[in-house]
Assembly symmetry: C2
Amino acid sequence: MKLTNKGRYAVMAMADLASNAKGGPISLTEISLRQNISLAYLEQIFLKLKNNKLVRSSRGANGGYVLEKPASEIKLSNIIYAVDEEVKTLNCKKNSKRGCNNKSTKCITHNLWDQLDQHIIGFFEKVKLQDLAKLG
Amino acid sequence: MKLTNKGRYAVMAMADLASNAKGGPISLTEISLRQNISLAYLEQIFLKLKNNKLVRSSRGANGGYVLEKPASEIKLSNIIYAVDEEVKTLNCKKNSKRGCNNKSTKCITHNLWDQLDQHIIGFFEKVKLQDLAKLG
DNA sequence: AAGAATTCCTACTATTTTAGTAGGGATTAA
DNA sequence: TTAATCCCTACTAAAATAGTAGGAATTCTT
């Protein structure tokens, strides 16, 4: 799992969407102003959120986005995965030549990172979008 | 806290050092061969490990490194901090213009990342170098 | 004394990732 | 018909990471 600004922006924007729900859709322009994130960047992020069925869009004037599900049913892990895609903190297989190659020189720490992954994932699985109100 | 290959290499090398202890110091050449990490890169890493009092060095032929403390007393957090230096998963203050600036538009998710930090740090605080034998 | 093995230290470079910009097209409400 | 909005792709700039290079200092062995 990657933890980047993009993921943070996504969570911020979703939290914004959840807290400012007013019946109709909310435009990215609004979110952009409130959260101080560039509109074009938000568009990219929401494309992915939409593809991952976390938000629903309506186009045209007065268009915007609404949450696809209640905030109580959206896990933070869903959001992070949606925009950052990768699953592992550190991918041992990527650098097959150096370091851990899962073969002869077995990566001593392989299982360790697996455990850490589970730890972080567990954290994001537990927290729901709704909980952010309490935190913020 | 940053989680990079460098940190992983550091943990691997320290684990190697712990498991191959033989009384005298162990050279980076050995570790380099066993763990398949470039010697020059290891040198950089061990410089930091040494500055952080995790290993002790002896120079010259037959020189090398030994653990400064028993493996049971070295926490993984010590190792990661030593080489990767930074403490926070995502630094909100860095990008002061966009996103979270801790001011007017308060970062909704600020506390969230703090919690995550504590979570990850807690994990690395719990695990000792000695424990890696069980994991690997 | 010489040579080899090693740590020590700094600077550089290439690659990858992240962050963000740009521009135009499609759709819809007023 | 116009303005507001989503939709989509491509590009670029900046930062971080990973790794290389080269040489100096130290110590053991012969």
